[in-house]
Symmetry: C2
Subunit: 165 residues, 2 copies
């Protein structure tokens, strides 16, 4: 998909893992919990109902042991090992969440479009595009540390899936 | 899907048409334009790219000949002749629209979940569930005449598809 620089954030990297391994990282709850947020934060709960309109739910825990409010969203596209699209703007069965309060500076809706493209020489081109409702939401997400956070998490995924089985 | 009486509106009817005929009514632009809004209003433009993330666009015209702002949305589920889900909260490629102004009393986002269930004795159980972000949006949509409007449009669809070919 093409990028709207005003409203989108993007991370792309060529990775020496198969698309299957990256897919498992994103879609198997036990695997996802091991990499999805930068340490020392961790994911302590994860539910995945892998189908369009199915639940994607995580609970993160701070280094002090404090559970955060659950993150709930739903899948829009599930193409095994190729493309996964999900959003936090809808809940399962494609129900729209209520609008966010205008003064909620940390809250914003987004859609994440993940693609896993096998490379001719082996490995996978991994791309995550995160689209927002407004330029302000994109900026807030960037300032929260989107690039670093997603980059570190991706490092953790690559490390995890590179371990001897 | 189950109904949330606070936020959903629903119309259901058993119709003596095939699921294929109803599907064509919803997914073929030339056909849709002939029934989609209650006369003497009419649809003067329609674009359909029938896939998840594809464009659904209509332009309605008032009895006085005034074109209204285009209605743009995207499809979420496309299961031929069985289920069609679309929303006006996202544009193609699953891009979220900006939040609506709080004082926009006629504007609201919704998701429409259409199902076409073949009946044992012939005909089809047609069901349209329209879900909203809030109870207030549901109420505004109901007061705009949801039940009458969708009912009359459905009458027009049945009449159209019952004509001799």
């Amino acid at each position: 998909m093409s990028i709207d620089p005003e409203r989108d954030l993007e991370i792309q990297r060529d990775i020496s893992l198969s698309a299957e391994a990256l897919w498992r990282g994103w879609t198997d709850p036990d695997t996802l919990m091991k990499w999805f947020c930068p340490r020392p934060w961790k994911v302590v709960e994860c539910d995945i109902d892998l189908k369009p309109g199915g639940l994607f739910r995580t609970v993160m825990q701070s280094p002090e042991g404090q559970n955060q409010p659950e993150g709930v969203g739903t899948y829009l596209v599930v193409e095994p090992c190729r493309r996964l699209v999900w959003t936090n703007a809808l809940t399962p069965d494609f129900r729209l969440k209520p609008p966010l309060p205008a003064d909620d500076s940390l809250g914003f809706f987004f859609v994440v479009d993940l693609s896993f493209e096998p490379l001719p020489g082996g490995g996978t081109r991994y791309r995550a595009v995160c689209t927002h409702q407004t330029a302000a939401a994109r900026e807030a997400h960037e300032k929260m540390g989107f690039h670093q956070g997603w980059g570190v998490a991706l490092d953790q995924l690559v490390e995890l899936m590179s371990l001897p089985a």
